[in-house]
């Protein structure tokens, strides 16, 4: 039954149609198929609910709608009998959307903002931080022993601070202000109120549950100052020096009198003489990030230098691994050679080792004083300190790590080409080179072209190779942000994650650019590959 179903096509001599194609995924599969389907759908539903719960807590209705839509779609596709092709396509399409298309869209949306350190959150968060950070201890501000209490229910009742000053006098303070407290029991050891008539003292856990309230709570003592808690057991007198006014959309510093006005284009508060408050917010900046590396002289020259080297690097590495890999494959393809297997294992070894460790090893081999190269060659070359030797080093290390793969693919492809063809060419009078050039190579390229394109695309973004060996260096002394061996991807990474001010917006714009460049190159090379067109036909 199942074998007939999974074939999906009428067997020889069988009636034209006995059951719909789709195997166990179709409505009338075997019992086990049904059970497996129910289990998987159940699991998927659980996953959906698990995803929807935090969205519900966060009040994200659009998110819940998307989750529900996906669930309904999955149920429809796998329970209906009319959607056979979709049963195969849906998982791939969902993963493609989740892990390829969404990240690209998110990167694109980030690339038109000023998302960076100092511009991470929204405006409300920036204002809250500015006000909270400006609370300072009042001059000769008093300190108090603190007991947090309430007049009502521990969870919702109004907060009251039961305070004792340095003389041991007890006070009660609420949002109305401070007043003396007469009938309070003060613990002589800690100097804090432990009990007072009419107040319920809160436990640490109860106080903690009201943390957000406590952060904003201050007992007013006049002149803008307030008594705030600075731990569960102490309070101090302080005042906020910076106050936001929604009317003028500005922050006033009451101690200096400077007014900082919100600039919604740059996402920060600026004073009249151009000084800004550190806490800013994320705003849309349009295509400024793109303009920066395309038109700003400093950034544009870095960008285009890197781009040229990046293409050169990818071409050089791809070309060299192809030539070296193919040459070795041809050598080991000679029928008379003995010990072929041993040679092949040796050649593939670099491919079998962890490339991360290998890159670090290569880096150390290029050390001026202690590295293998200078000691073997008896030279004193500062390999990674000079632009061209560093580029050479990076390419060399990559060719060493990359050629075994090419060798494997070429060996496989060579074995698929009948030797008779070459022999026939030789009998017809072609030299060894001619036979290779006009018979073997064209047939090889059918298999090799897609691999070469993949290798090119991989090396175009070969982050590890550069980051682990040179970190993009050496750098010109006047521009530490763009080094001689930097690829676009390492440059982007430095912008986003590795420098003091993370510039996600700018890095996202660079990523979009890389995406465009690689896509265009791949499309062109795929559409122009003659060998591939032959395969397509």
């Amino acid at each position: 039954m199942s074998s007939r179903n999974s074939a999906g096509a009428p067997g020889p001599g069988a009636p034209a149609r006995t059951s719909p194609p789709g195997g166990g995924l179709a409505g009338s599969g075997s019992l086990w198929g049904q059970v497996a389907k129910i289990a998987l759908l159940g699991l998927f539903t659980a996953l959906g609910v698990w995803a929807a719960l935090p969205l519900y807590v966060g009040g994200n209705w659009a998110g819940i709608a998307v989750v529900a839509a996906v669930l309904v779609l999955v149920y429809w596709v796998y329970l209906s009998k009319r959607t056979v092709p979709l049963k195969y396509l849906l998982p791939g399409v969902l993963f493609l959307i989740a892990f390829q298309i969404l990240p690209v869209l998110y990167t694109m949306s980030t690339s038109v903002t000023n998302f960076s350190d100092g511009h991470r959150g929204d405006k409300e968060q920036a204002i809250a931080a500015i006000e909270a950070y400006s609370v300072t201890r009042a001059e000769q501000g008093r300190e108090f022993g603190l007991t947090v209490a309430t007049t009502g229910d521990p969870e919702t009742g109004e907060l009251v601070f039961l305070l004792t000053d340095s003389d041991g006098t007890a006070y009660a303070g609420d949002i109305e202000g401070l007043r003396p407290l007469d009938d309070a029991t003060v613990d002589p050891a800690s100097g804090r109120v432990t009990e007072a008539f009419g107040y319920t003292v809160l436990t640490p856990a109860q106080v903690n549950a009201r943390s957000q309230e406590l952060e904003e709570f201050a007992v007013p003592v006049g002149d803008g100052a307030g008594i705030r808690a600075n731990s569960l057991s102490t309070a101090y007198e302080g005042r906020a020096t910076r106050v936001y006014d929604a009317g003028c959309d500005c922050v006033t510093d009451t101690s200096t009198g400077v007014v900082y006005t919100a600039d919604d284009e740059r996402g920060a508060f600026y004073s009249e003489d151009g000084e800004r408050l550190a806490q800013g917010w994320r705003v849309n900046v349009g295509f400024d990030n793109f303009a920066r590396f395309l038109f700003n002289p400093t950034f544009a020259s870095s960008f285009f230098t890197i781009l040229v080297w990046n293409i050169g690097f990818a071409v050089a590495v791809t070309g060299l691994v192809f030539v070296v890999g193919l040459a070795i494959a041809l050598t080991l393809h000679v029928p008379r050679l003995r010990g072929k297997k041993a040679y092949r294992i040796l050649v593939v070894l670099p491919y079998a080792m962890s490339s991360l460790a290998m890159y670090l090893l290569w880096r150390d081999m290029f050390n001026t004083d202690f590295g293998l190269f200078n000691q073997l060659l008896g030279t004193n070359v500062d390999w990674l300190g000079d632009a061209w030797t560093a580029r050479f080093a990076v390419i060399l290390a990559n060719v060493w790590l990359g050629y075994p793969y090419m060798f494997l693919v070429a060996t496989g492809a060579l074995q698929a080409i009948p030797r008779e063809l070459t022999q026939a060419a030789r009998i017809d009078g072609a030299g060894a080179w001619q036979a290779f050039r006009h018979v073997t190579l064209p047939m090889l390229m059918v298999a090799m072209t897609p691999i070469l394109i993949a290798t090119f695309a991989f090396n175009f973004n070969n982050f590890n190779a550069v980051w682990l060996i040179t970190k993009g260096g050496p750098f010109p002394p006047d521009d530490p942000s763009a080094g001689a061996t930097d690829l676009l991807i390492t440059y982007t990474y430095r912008m986003a994650f590795s420098q003091a001010t993370a510039e996600y917006g700018y890095a996202a714009a660079l990523s979009v650019m890389i995406f465009v460049i690689v896509s265009v190159m791949s499309v062109i090379s795929l559409s122009r590959g003659k060998a591939l067109q032959e395969v397509d036909r």
């Binding site: 957000q212 952060e215 600075n230 550190a278 040179t470």
Partner: protein, 413 residues
């Protein structure tokens, strides 16, 4: 009929299955209503913090959950988690993160009660202060120092010249291959170099009267700084060859431990390996240049911070104000992770029993806290690369002036 209802049955069964899957989770959810204070720490200190915080947990009837991250990841992950709303309540960090954390509104100010603040080393509190506001509670400090192989160099050198003289005679005698093992690397190391740079009179940022760093007073192109780098260049690759780019943080320690270098600019992180290595060593301050100022290594402080928006901020504030400043807490942390405490009582007790701690603290006596302003971050890469270029033989004045411009442009914008 059977066939048509099959999908409906399957759908029902799948939904029922889902319901049972969800049912299992409910018991866990119940437990989570207990108050839990989440702390981020590096793996090295996690167990110590968890044990030391137990007292706090018991006193206040809450749970403390210490989660582990690589130290270098904490700042970046914290900023991202804060934005996503799932940050911890408390995290450990380095004091020089303060500026960036404040700029992103990711930390809460801390107001230490006076009787607690005065038990901490004053410079350490100053180092965690940004814009006259305290943002974290320091608990340990670290600084680099000079480690010497006492079999090769029995006496601590008084001046850098003396160090070079002793080292050179050892090298010429064939006993060692290096004069000094000081990491420079291809990208330079301004953290280590600051000791020599300040001794020779150079400065990076100026300070106002209250000790706040002034990002507008960048000193790299000043005559003092250029003269200082010229002095350092004398020991570079085109000079005496004492400072070289081929020595980096990957091989500096092994050069010393293998006996190839009599002197080593080391940090507390090298102590464990030094004890395990087969040599006698001693710790002393990094010597300054003869007739110049003392070498001032950077001092880095480790501190506890509270995340802005923490749901448990009351407990977190209590933890920082009254427990991180408590000598008992610090000592129990020290026992599993020996770092120099900044809590004065704890420091006294630890120094009495651990000679290394006392020697490192002495080596840091002339030190300066690493500036914690966000602008500081912009100086590392350019300055390091400039120092590496100068040690490699580049023109000092030209390099320093262009580096000054690069940095000024970055922090101005």
């Amino acid at each position: 009929m059977r066939l048509r209802s099959a999908p409906a049955i399957a759908a029902l069964a799948a939904t029922a299955l889902m319901a049972t899957a969800c049912g299992g989770g409910d018991e866990d959810a119940q437990e989570n209503t207990d108050t839990t204070l989440v702390i981020w720490s590096d793996p090295e200190r996690a167990a110590a913090i968890e044990a030391a915080a137990q007292n706090f947990a018991d006193t206040n009837g809450v749970r403390v959950d210490v989660q582990q991250l690589a130290f270098g990841d904490i700042q970046g992950d914290l900023l991202n988690a804060h934005q996503a709303g799932n940050a911890p309540d408390i995290f450990i960090g380095a004091h020089d993160w303060t500026g960036n954390l404040v700029r992103n509104g990711a930390v809460q100010p801390v107001e230490l009660p006076e009787h607690r603040a005065e038990t901490l080393d004053e410079t350490s509190v100053q180092a965690l202060t940004y814009d006259s506001q305290l943002f974290g509670v320091p608990y340990s400090q670290e600084n680099i120092f000079l480690m010497r192989n006492t079999a090769l160099a029995p006496d601590a050198p008084e001046t850098f010249e003396e160090l070079v003289e002793v080292g050179t005679s050892l090298k010429d005698g064939g006993e060692t291959s290096e004069v000094l093992s000081m990491a420079v690397g291809q990208e330079g190391d301004p953290y280590r170099m600051n000791a020599l740079f300040t001794s020779a009179g150079g400065y990076l940022f100026g300070q106002d009267a209250e000790g706040n760093w002034d990002p507008n007073d960048l000193g790299l192109n000043s005559d003092e700084s250029i003269a200082a780098m010229e002095k350092i260049a004398e020991y570079g690759e085109s000079g005496q060859g004492v400072l070289r780019r081929s020595i980096d943080t990957q091989n500096d320690a092994s050069l010393f431990f293998d006996g190839e270098a009599p002197f080593f600019i080391a940090g507390p992180w090298n102590i464990g390996d030094a004890d395990a290595a087969d040599l006698e060593y001693a710790i002393s301050p990094i010597p300054g240049f003869e007739g110049e100022g003392p070498a001032r290594p950077y001092i880095g402080y480790q501190a506890f911070f509270i995340t802005e928006g923490s749901a448990n901020s009351a407990l977190a504030q209590e933890f920082l104000a009254n427990h991180v400043t408590d000598p008992g807490f610090i000592l129990s942390l020290y026992e599993s992770d020996p770092r120099t405490p900044v809590q004065l009582e704890a420091l006294e007790e630890v120094s009495a029993s651990d000679a290394n701690i006392a020697a490192i603290a002495e080596a840091g006596a002339e030190g300066m806290p690493m500036p914690s302003i966000p602008e500081m971050g912009e100086t590392w890469e350019p300055l390091g690369k400039a120092e590496a270029a100068i040690i490699g033989g580049a023109d000092v004045r030209e390099t320093m002036e262009s580096t000054h411009e690069t940095i000024a442009e970055k922090i101005g914008g």
